[in-house]
C-alpha cells in the first residue's frame, strides 16, 4: 500500500479541470451536429428551464421579500426608505439574480442532468447510441449544454421580476412606502446596459459553467450506483464554487 503513489488532491483537481476543458472542446465540436437533433434541444430547454420555474419563482419571491424587509430597516436608519426600490433592484440585477438562480439551477437542473446521463452510462444507453452510429456527444451532451445556456438567463430574469414583486409587496403593500416613489426611483437609477444586461451576461456564463459541469460529471461517472451518487454531489459542490468564484472575476471586469 505504502509503495503505491497516491495522487495528491491538488493533482487530482487539476486533472479534473483539464479533462473538463477537453470535454468542453468535444461538446463544442459536437454542437453543429446536435442542430440536427433540434427537437431534443428544445425538449431539454423545457426540461431544465420550464421545469425549474416553480423553484426559481418561489425563491425569487421570498428573496425579494426578505430584501425588502432588511433593506427597509437599514434604509430607515438613514431616513432613506424611498430608495428601497432602487437598492433592491440593483442588488437583484447585478448580483443576487444571476448568482442565486445559478445555485438553484445547479441543485434543480444540474443534478438531474448528471443523474440522467450517469444512469444512461451505467445502463449502456450511451454505448448503445454509439453502436447505432449516433454520437452521444451530439445527441445527449450538446443539447443539455445548450439548454443550460438558453434557460439560465431566462430563469434569472424571472427570478429578478419575482424578487422585485416580493420587495414591492413588503415595502409598499405592507410597510406603506409610496408606490410611485418605489417605481420612479428604481427606473431613474437603474441603467439597462450597465445593470440589467451585465447581469444577463453573468447568467449566460453561469448557465454554461453549471451545465458543462453537470454534463461532464454525468458523462464521466463510473457506471455504478455509488459513482452516480458521487457525481451528482460533485455537480452541486463544483458548480457552487465555480459560480461564486466566476462571479467575483466577472464583477471585477464588468464594474
Amino acid at each position: 500500500m505504502s509503495a503505491e503513489r497516491r495522487p495528491s488532491m491538488l493533482g487530482d483537481a487539476l486533472a479534473q479541470v483539464g479533462a473538463c476543458g477537453l470535454f468542453l472542446l468535444q461538446v463544442l465540436a459536437a454542437v453543429p451536429k446536435s442542430l440536427r437533433h433540434f427537437r431534443e434541444t428544445v425538449r431539454q430547454v423545457w426540461f431544465v428551464g420550464a421545469m425549474s420555474l416553480v423553484i426559481i419563482m418561489t425563491c425569487g419571491l421570498f428573496v425579494g421579500m426578505v430584501l425588502g424587509l432588511q433593506l427597509y430597516y437599514v434604509l430607515s436608519i438613514f431616513g432613506g426608505t424611498a430608495a428601497l426600490g432602487t437598492v433592491v433592484s440593483l442588488s437583484l440585477y447585478r448580483e443576487l439574480g444571476p448568482v442565486v438562480t445559478a445555485l438553484l439551477f445547479a441543485g434543480r437542473a444540474g443534478t438531474s442532468i448528471t443523474a440522467e446521463i450517469g444512469l444512461m452510462r451505467a445502463t449502456d444507453q450511451l454505448a448503445a447510441m454509439e453502436m447505432m452510429a449516433v454520437d452521444p456527444l451530439a445527441y445527449v451532451a450538446a443539447p443539455r449544454f445548450i439548454a443550460g445556456i438558453v434557460a439560465m438567463p431566462l430563469l434569472a430574469c424571472v427570478f429578478n421580476a419575482l424578487g422585485i414583486f416580493g420587495a414591492h409587496l413588503v415595502g409598499v403593500s405592507w410597510l406603506g412606502l409610496d408606490n410611485g416613489t418605489f417605481w420612479s426611483n428604481m427606473t431613474s437609477s437603474v441603467d439597462v446596459w450597465k445593470d440589467v444586461v451585465n447581469g444577463v451576461w453573468k447568467s449566460v456564463a453561469f448557465g454554461a459553467v453549471v451545465s458543462l459541469i453537470a454534463v461532464f460529471q454525468g458523462y464521466t461517472t463510473p457506471p455504478t450506483s455509488e459513482g452516480v451518487a458521487y457525481a451528482t454531489t460533485r455537480t452541486v459542490v463544483f458548480s457552487s464554487i465555480v459560480v461564486l468564484a466566476l462571479d467575483f472575476v466577472m464583477t471585477a471586469f464588468l464594474m
Binding site: D124, Q125, A127, A128, M129, D135
Partner: protein
C-alpha cells in the same frame, strides 16, 4: 479444430489477427486469431471472464486492442476515424447483454430510433418497418409500452428488433438467451436462424447455452486463456477429444479451466496450518 484458417479466409467478414489485449494489468487475449465467415452464424463460447464481450467490443471499435488487427468487411477497425467507424456501425447490429433500451422512449420509438437518426423516411414507412420487426419478435402489441414496463426477456426481444431494424450485414449477439423463457428462447433462436437464412446476415453469437448454440450455429469457437482452444461445427466439438471440449461441452467439473479463482491455501485462509495440497 483441424480446419485450417485459410479455408474460411476468402469468405471471412471479420478477420482477427494477432490480437493482444491487456485490461487492468490482466491479459485478456494473447495472439488471438479467428475468422468469422460471411453469411454464417458463428458462436463464440468460453468460460466466464474469458473476454467474449471484449472481443465484440473490439469488432465494433468500442475498445482498441494493444496489438493486432481486426478487419471487418476489409476495413481495419482500430485505425478507422470516428466518422468512418460510424459509417461501419450503421451496417452492424449489436444486441447488448442488458438490452440498453433508451428509457425515455417507448418500445416503438426505441426500435424506430436508428431509422429516425439516419434516414429521412415518411412516417408511414417508419411505422410499417418498426411494426414488422416487432411482429418478428412477437411484441407488436407492446409497441406503446415503456421499457420500464417490460420484463427482462421482453426488453431483450425489443433490443433485438432494434438491432435488426436496418437489416445490417453483421449482427453481434451478446448473451441473447439469458433470461428468456423456453418459448421466447425458441422464437429468438428461430429468428436468428431465419435472419441468417433469408437475408444472409452474418451473425456472431456469444452465449453459454451449448444446447441452444448447437441448434443455431454453423461454427463454434471455444476461447480460453486468451486463445482459440477449439474450433469446429457443434457436432465436431461434441465429438472432439480435447480436454477443453470435454470440460466445456461434456460438463466435466475438472479440467483445464479451474473453477476456483486463484487463491492462497484454503486451510491457511481458514486459520489452520497449511496443508501440502495447496489451494486446490
Amino acid at each position: 479444430m483441424n480446419t485450417p484458417h485459410a479455408s474460411a479466409a476468402g469468405a471471412a467478414l471479420v478477420e482477427v489477427r494477432g490480437l493482444r489485449t491487456v485490461l487492468n494489468g490482466k491479459t485478456i487475449f494473447d495472439d488471438l486469431e479467428l475468422d468469422i465467415p460471411r453469411g454464417k452464424i458463428t458462436a463464440i463460447m468460453g468460460p466466464s471472464g474469458t473476454g467474449k464481450t471484449t472481443l465484440l467490443r473490439h469488432v465494433t471499435g468500442q475498445l482498441a486492442p494493444d496489438a493486432g488487427t481486426i478487419r471487418v468487411d476489409g476495413r481495419d477497425v482500430p485505425r478507422l476515424t470516428r466518422s468512418e467507424l460510424f459509417d461501419l456501425r450503421e451496417k452492424i447490429g449489436f444486441l447488448f447483454q442488458n438490452s440498453a433500451l433508451l428509457t425515455d422512449f417507448s418500445v416503438f420509438e426505441n426500435v424506430a430510433f436508428p431509422l429516425r437518426q439516419h434516414l429521412r423516411l415518411p412516417e408511414e414507412l417508419v411505422r410499417n418497418i418498426v411494426l414488422t420487426k416487432l411482429q418478428a419478435v412477437g411484441l407488436r402489441g407492446a409497441a406503446g409500452l415503456m421499457p420500464s414496463e417490460l420484463s427482462g426477456g421482453m426488453a431483450r426481444r425489443v433490443a433485438l428488433a432494434r438491432a435488426i431494424v436496418r437489416d445490417p450485414m453483421l449482427i453481434l449477439y451478446d448473451e441473447p438467451f439469458v433470461g428468456l423463457d423456453p418459448i421466447a428462447l425458441n422464437q429468438v433462436l428461430k429468428l436468428i436462424r431465419t435472419l441468417n437464412d433469408t437475408l444472409g446476415i452474418t451473425s456472431i453469437l456469444v452465449a453459454h447455452e451449448f444446447a441452444a448454440v448447437a441448434r443455431a450455429a454453423d461454427l463454434v469457437y471455444l476461447i480460453a486463456g486468451g486463445k482459440v482452444v477449439a474450433r469446429g461445427t457443434p457436432d465436431e466439438l461434441t465429438r472432439a477429444d480435447s480436454p477443453w471440449t470435454r470440460q466445456f461441452f461434456g460438463g466435466e467439473a475438472d479440467g483445464p479451466v479451474p473453477f476456483q479463482y486463484p487463491a492462497r491455501d484454503y486451510a491457511l485462509d481458514l486459520g489452520f496450518p497449511a496443508t501440502a495440497g495447496g489451494a486446490a
